[in-house]
Symmetry: D2
Subunit: 340 residues, 4 copies
């Protein structure tokens, strides 16, 4: 057993509004791409001169889709009608499977004689991959007994969707859906980022929106969410393969008078403060620094973690767009910093 | 400065055919999700009992798309017609920008009065992010001088596409496009994976193909390429945010008589054996273990690295599909291994 | 005012199972691509020798998404929480707006400070475009009064989604979601289509599934649903631009022993038996031929029409796949028929 | 044999710049949705008060993808390398297959042991569906003889892509890629459309760009291209199922000082002035009205037709966006007009 050691630095401070409280924190980022620290840091520090980055957690569920088959769509339709009257059973099965699992909802898709049943479950402060798998096992067992017309195909039908690009995760939810917003006065924008709000806005439209559409992107319009998410996930002991779905998010910018309204919406942030990977000493330390190991109602620590992740993404996103407005800045900063 | 330390293990041996040579190697995988080691390992060892995993590198380019604008599409059309006669200039500019950069091609897209020009460049043994950025800078400068009707918008127009889901990367290429293939006799399949080739095949169709289509995936049909790529990229000092595009790949399975033909096609593996992150001691050691620091023609070490990455992905992919065929196996293995 | 006259022919008979009744009908298809008639017809007639094409209508809603904005995501989140308690108001508003409108559900998406509210409504036997627009108007008026923090952006926010490619329509529904299924014995398959079930199956996997994935398709895997839908929509007075979403459907094939199970799933068939375009004499005649102008509970005539549309799609889809299995057949049939 | 008769009206006049010539024409539109005439007509007439709608045809090819298989990716790679040296053979085969076919290029994709070979051909004034199929037949025959390691799978591999949503058609081209642009002074915009350029611009960003991204659209960002394309295709004898790919286009809007720059980019307009469906008397009349049956170099009549199609799309697109800016206008216009 060897070790992979990734350079990590506390970046910030960053001023955040979460759950109607305001606070400043430093954020640990683990990355081989060290210019990222400076990039996130400059907007983080700018946020401290302003009202802070407001975060809103819109949704919180983890999902698993089981896959079954019958002889025909008609059989599945009849079963689904019957199942509607039995959602209490599903709730019971899910909540018996684990102390922290709370049943949220299910969504069914039928293709020919195949049934994809996507379970959405709230998983407390855990990211919840294993918790939903356990719950899915229980539901599967019960379905196969309750409806002998059904046959097992798979515990996961790729409609969950775990670590793969999809449209369903953004629409129906997987992980925490978070919006982070920052309003910047024209003066501070020009002073700290060396660009006007208008330049940021125009670049955003042509690069993030039109460029992404042209590239054949899917429910995703941003410059580089993946970079910040990766560094944040690694430093906080998350399963970083979740950046695949996590990075499918949308930057939205507006001019408000002369000021800049800058927002990032990430419908699929998958993080936990407990569970696999979280008991490593440096992870514990980083979660503590972020104030995410405190006594709080179940689920609140991981929501706070997701909110900080989104705020960090906002910093890096705005910083890169500003750099692209200034021809040559980007290249120089990379060259200078990587040579150090 | 602190450190993020990720558990890493050599998995294997794995039998690979690359560049018409056959060899066995152990592959370092860094992950918080430790059951992955066992999962990849069992198919790796199975490959040693067979003819090995055949790898084919179909394509190798790195890309950057610059973004410019004019007054109208007609102006852009006239410029593009003129540019066709001047591709030699582009070649010269690119190849002057860096010792290892070789011009490959360019692709232009026009939306209204906007021009997205995507440069494809071969970057030797480096992943090439910085090399293409430098080359793009040179091309940009020249274009703005050559065609005063053009105005700068961005050094990157999100049509590159770096670390974001897209269709263009798979179609036109970014990174190394690799296919890995393994044929398994029915006997060994049943003995080692406890499933028949037919069961694997049927699950693949319903989960990887239909499930992904249903989920609204995009040029992607696999169970979990992202997991293996992440662990491989981290252990070999790669920029792991590239798993976003890297994981958009396709598993293709066939029954050949009673045997199983199992393949993974990854059009966007982005790896290097030199450059940023590669001089860390453990990275050097891991690259050496993989035989990717040897004296070879330029580009061959990184192609070998990409081929091994694809072969590793194949092992993990087949292993998970086999586990899903056996109800309950997946859950048990996670529970047992994570408790250790 | 001139006229566009499209050649139209009754094709069939076709044997259908709908709402647990079995019947045979001829289907009018309007097309400039006249080989389509023969193509659909041969499988239609084959269905009469078998148990018929079983159809299942899984879902039936029409949608419209209104677009509003506030100062921040937090404001929208608070409004959405309040709105959850007031879904009765939405129901009332919708059902007052039109005699046939029944409120089904709503779905909200927040991006930054923007709110996309997608209303799903059952619209009786009308396709329902205008009915949902009227209902959306009422809801919009009420929301703007109830929540003065909201500002109008658009009566439609492109999240409906009307006549445009999308993922949301398939996942959440728009129009009627129909599955049509036919099981064909090996003998009749070979006799009538000159191919074996196995050949159809293999071609389907490589062309419809893998080919579509490769092409960067989206929630769509079929050979040519659009052709049959267009001809059917035109002949029955539908707004044929709805083939854009209608053709995003999935063919699913299985081998059952030696027999062929062939199915098409179309989540977005948008048809009506009343409303705009339906009072033209030839449309009335065609709807009557299809048995879709009879006295039935509200909505049943249009569901029957959708079921027949799906069955017609199945015929054309299977016929083309069979033709592709026979090299050269396709080309010859086009040449011969178009010269007539 | 019966007839489907679609109400058709000449709308306009419309002022167009095509091939550096400027002219005014009336455009026939066939539709059951009769408010479309007024909607297109008001912007058409506005164009006559301005410099006209400038059109640019960027690209013109028709495509067909054949599908073959071998034992392995390595075999396919070797064949593709060999084929690069033989593109002259492909050219010869294609050009022998039909008087008007000109070889343009080919694009290959490999998935496992499958080869999708996409041929791009210029087809004169025909839409070219049959012409590329004939050419593909010839190429297929030759490939199977030249490379006995290859086996036939299908004459079309769904990578063409005919009448199906895709990313590849926009990126590599299918049909004519046309941009249409119109610049409108603030004064005329307010006078004729009752909205300011700024209102149009803001609505476009939030509805066409963000709304489409959110809906999980693919390389498509417009309000209703499909409506205009359908009416235009039907009236001019085109295969209207091609609106599926045709409607995947992008509206791009800018504010130029106080004026409005409005553009539509349609990469996949598939139209012909000769071939199937074009000899119907009303089609001949409509093509003549559009000036598309004149003696011109091969291909110029169909390019002109595509340019007019794009200009018509622009009119309808701008008109609808303006209507959405004025709350209630849309609903009223539908109600009033449909009752007539």
């Amino acid at each position: 057993m060897s070790q992979t050691i990734i350079p990590t630095r506390l970046v910030g401070p960053l001023k955040i509004v979460f759950a109607k409280k305001i606070f400043e924190i430093n954020v640990p980022l683990a990355t081989y791409e060290t210019p990222l620290w400076r990039s996130v840091g400059r907007v983080a520090r700018l946020s401290c001169l302003l009202d802070g980055i407001q975060t809103t957690v819109l949704r919180d569920v983890m999902t698993r889709s089981i896959l079954l088959e019958a002889d025909s769509a008609q059989t599945l339709f009849d079963i689904l009608k019957d199942l509607q009257r039995k959602s209490e059973n599903l709730k019971e099965l899910v909540e018996k499977s684990s102390k922290f699992a709370k049943f949220h909802s299910y969504h069914a898709e039928v293709i020919g004689n195949l049934l994809y049943l996507r379970l959405a479950i709230t998983t407390g402060d855990a990211a919840g991959h294993n918790m939903v798998t356990k719950a899915a096992e229980q539901v599967l067992d019960w379905l196969l007994k309750e409806y002998p017309q059904l046959k097992y195909v798979s515990l996961s039908g790729n409609y969950c969707v775990d670590k793969k690009v999809s449209a369903v995760n953004g629409i129906l939810g997987r992980g925490k859906s978070v919006v982070a917003e920052l309003t910047i006065t024209e003066e501070l924008c020009i002073k700290h980022l060396r660009v006007s709000p208008k330049d940021i806005y125009n670049l955003h439209i042509k690069k993030n929106l039109l460029g992404s559409i042209l590239a054949g992107s899917l429910r995703s319009a941003n410059a580089h969410f993946a970079n910040m998410l990766l560094a944040f996930y690694l430093a906080t002991g998350q399963d970083a393969a979740n950046i695949v779905e996590g990075s499918q998010g949308i930057t939205h910018v507006e001019l408000r008078g002369n000021d800049l309204y800058f927002s990032v919406s990430l419908p699929n942030i998958i993080v936990g403060t407990v569970g696999n990977g979280k008991d490593l000493p440096f992870v514990q330390e980083n979660l503590k620094t972020l104030g995410c190991l405190e006594k709080r109602p179940i689920g609140e620590n991981s929501k706070r973690l997701a909110a900080i992740a989104a705020a960090t993404v906002l910093c890096g996103e705005l910083s890169l767009l500003a750099a692209f407005c200034n021809r040559g800045e980007l290249m120089r900063s990379h060259e200078v910093l990587e040579r150090k």
